[in-house]
């Protein structure tokens, strides 16, 4: 069964701006799904409509088979949302925010405190439970919103840039955490501008731009479309000119850094063979761009050409 089905979704804001121009999307149960797109693409708009925060103009949204218009309550109970902007009462103690949230979903107060406690433990906020939300750091506020989204145990969790402004260590623990709840059966939809994050977490992906889906596919299939990858090689001894490496296109970035484009059919072994034949010793190597990032830029560019 699909966790989320969106059919021909349109949204035109009151000022006349068309933020969504007919979106179709399907996210399967248990999936870890990336919804990507440049700033202003319409990601948050789509998410707000799914979460009943914004009224759609036309179209249909179904959560686990429950139509958001006709079976509103059933649909709503299945969704958890971590929004892009902070939206909790800054003056309320952390634990009360979670207990209230649980209450809105019909969880009796005693059980609500228990659930809140669990969620706070899991997100490392237990020490801060009596602190007013406004005294939390930015990263803690994000984690508070994650904890809040989980107290009613949603089956579809939507995270709108949950790792923005979160330090590396906590970001990693959040990834681990998201993987874990996904393994336990929660479907996750994630938006992020850190594409390596999407690449390492998500199995399926949709790219949205200017209110339209420009690509929806699996992560592996998308990455396999990549024609070539750019590598940066650090070399041991400075050179003055880029060496001739036959079919490999090379550019000298600076005297100790060489950029090499490797096509999908070409092999790395051959590249290194050519390099050592010319007496160039490679100290280290890295991708110039994240692979998904490269793909993403291509797709958004080609969408732009199509519009033009």
């Amino acid at each position: 069964m699909a966790a989320l089905v969106i059919k021909d979704l349109h949204k035109t804001y009151r000022n006349g701006f068309a933020a969504l121009k007919g979106i179709d999307l399907q996210v399967e149960q248990g999936d870890f799904f990336a919804l990507l797109g440049p700033n202003g693409a319409g990601k948050s708009t789509a998410i707000s409509i799914i979460a009943s925060l914004t009224n759609k103009t036309t179209g249909r949204v179904e959560i686990y088979g429950h139509d958001l218009d006709r079976e509103r309550d059933q649909a709503k109970r299945l969704i958890g949302l971590v929004p892009q902007e902070f939206n909790f009462n800054m003056w309320e103690p952390v634990v009360e925010i979670l207990v209230n949230q649980a209450g809105y979903y019909g969880i009796p107060r005693k059980l609500a405190f228990q659930r809140a406690g669990e969620a706070l433990q899991r997100l490392g906020l237990w020490e801060k439970r009596q602190t007013q939300a406004r005294w939390l750091s930015g990263g803690m506020k994000r984690r508070l919103m994650i904890a809040r989204a989980l107290v009613h145990r949603p089956r579809l969790l939507i995270l709108d840039e949950p790792t923005a402004g979160v330090d590396i260590e906590i970001r990693r623990s959040m990834w681990e955490f998201m993987r874990e709840i996904n393994r336990q059966g929660t479907t996750i939809i994630l938006t992020t501008h850190y594409l390596e994050e999407a690449e390492s977490l998500c199995r399926n992906i949709a790219i949205i731009d200017h209110g339209r889906i420009v690509e929806q596919t699996s992560m592996t299939r998308l990455l396999s479309q990549l024609h070539s990858e750019l590598f940066l090689l650090n070399i041991a001894a400075p050179i003055e000119r880029a060496p001739d490496l036959h079919d490999y296109r090379t550019t000298l970035v600076d005297s100790e850094t060489l950029e090499v484009e490797v096509d999908r059919e070409q092999s790395m072994n051959q590249l290194f063979g050519l390099l050592s034949a010319q007496g160039i010793e490679v100290v280290s190597m890295r991708n110039k761009q994240n692979r998904l990032e490269q793909m993403f830029v291509d797709l958004v560019d080609s969408a732009k050409e199509k519009r033009a």
Partner: protein, 259 residues
């Protein structure tokens, strides 16, 4: 699996509890000021000036104004609680918590209104206790007194809610209390019997809904009123019905809370 009603009930209780905790947490701003103001009213109008005024409708002046002062504090506080709380909910966007959740609009409205009534009641009781230091309050009809007390509180909590829905800035939440609520209560017969007024002003006063509440409440306590109590109750209930329907319409149209 819980049915929807169980969810609604718990959601409603949650909103009410949250609202009560909110004004209790900031009691210095919410409960203390009305206690101080009414004490001053009692001292100044009741004692210092009141002793020179003599009788009003056959009662000592301080006894005459006590019901009005209690009800005035109920009105102001029911209103103030909902307008500032719901405006804050909008301003900080945590209204979204309620929009996402499976909570119907009438539960949201009911929760906020009951929160306002809770504060109105608490302040009303506080002021009543203070008044006992200045007068011997004996209540003519407990039933009627309580009924008017609660209905008035509900009515102004609803009015506060509507104000909050339309408010875009902090100023917007003080405009109505300053320019509408205060004049209406002061001219609503809290401090005088409208029989003191020239005929035209008596007639105009009858267009003021607060007059009906103050008089009915005074009737409940003292047993005297400038107007027919039944008419007054019908009018109060009518206003409640209108404001309830209007509030629910605002919510379902998403005015001020939904794009």
């Amino acid at each position: 699996m819980q049915n929807s009603w169980q969810i609604y009930r718990i959601a409603f209780q949650t909103i009410v509890t949250k609202e009560i905790l909110r004004f209790m947490r900031i009691w210095v701003q919410t409960l203390l000021p009305p206690a101080i103001t009414t004490t001053l009213y009692f001292i100044i109008f009741g004692r210092l000036i009141g002793d020179r005024i003599g009788e009003m409708d056959g009662y000592r002046y301080i006894d005459f104004i006590v019901p009005g002062l209690i009800l005035m504090s109920v009105i102001q506080n029911s209103y103030a609680n909902v307008v500032s709380s719901f405006f804050g909910t909008k301003l900080q966007h945590y209204i979204e918590e309620l929009l996402i959740a499976p909570v119907p609009h009438w539960v949201v409205l009911g929760g906020y209104v009951v929160g306002g009534v809770a504060r109105g009641t608490m302040v009303g009781i506080l002021v009543t206790i203070i008044s006992l230091f200045f007068t011997d309050l004996s209540i003519n009809s407990y039933g009627l007194t309580l009924l008017v007390f609660v209905l008035t509180s509900v009515l102004f909590a609803l009015a506060g809610f509507i104000n909050a829905v339309y408010a875009k800035t902090f100023d917007d939440i003080s405009i109505v209390p300053t320019f509408v609520l205060t004049p209406l209560t002061y001219l609503g017969g809290v401090f005088y019997s409208i029989e003191l007024l020239p005929e035209f002003w008596q007639w105009l006063s009858l267009a003021n809904p607060v007059l009906y509440m103050v008089n009915t409440f005074r009737f409940g306590i003292l047993g005297i009123s400038d107007i027919d109590v039944v008419v007054a109750l019908v009018i109060i209930l009518g206003f409640i019905a209108i404001l309830t329907v209007y509030s629910l319409r605002l919510l379902s149209r998403g005015v001020g809370i939904k794009e």
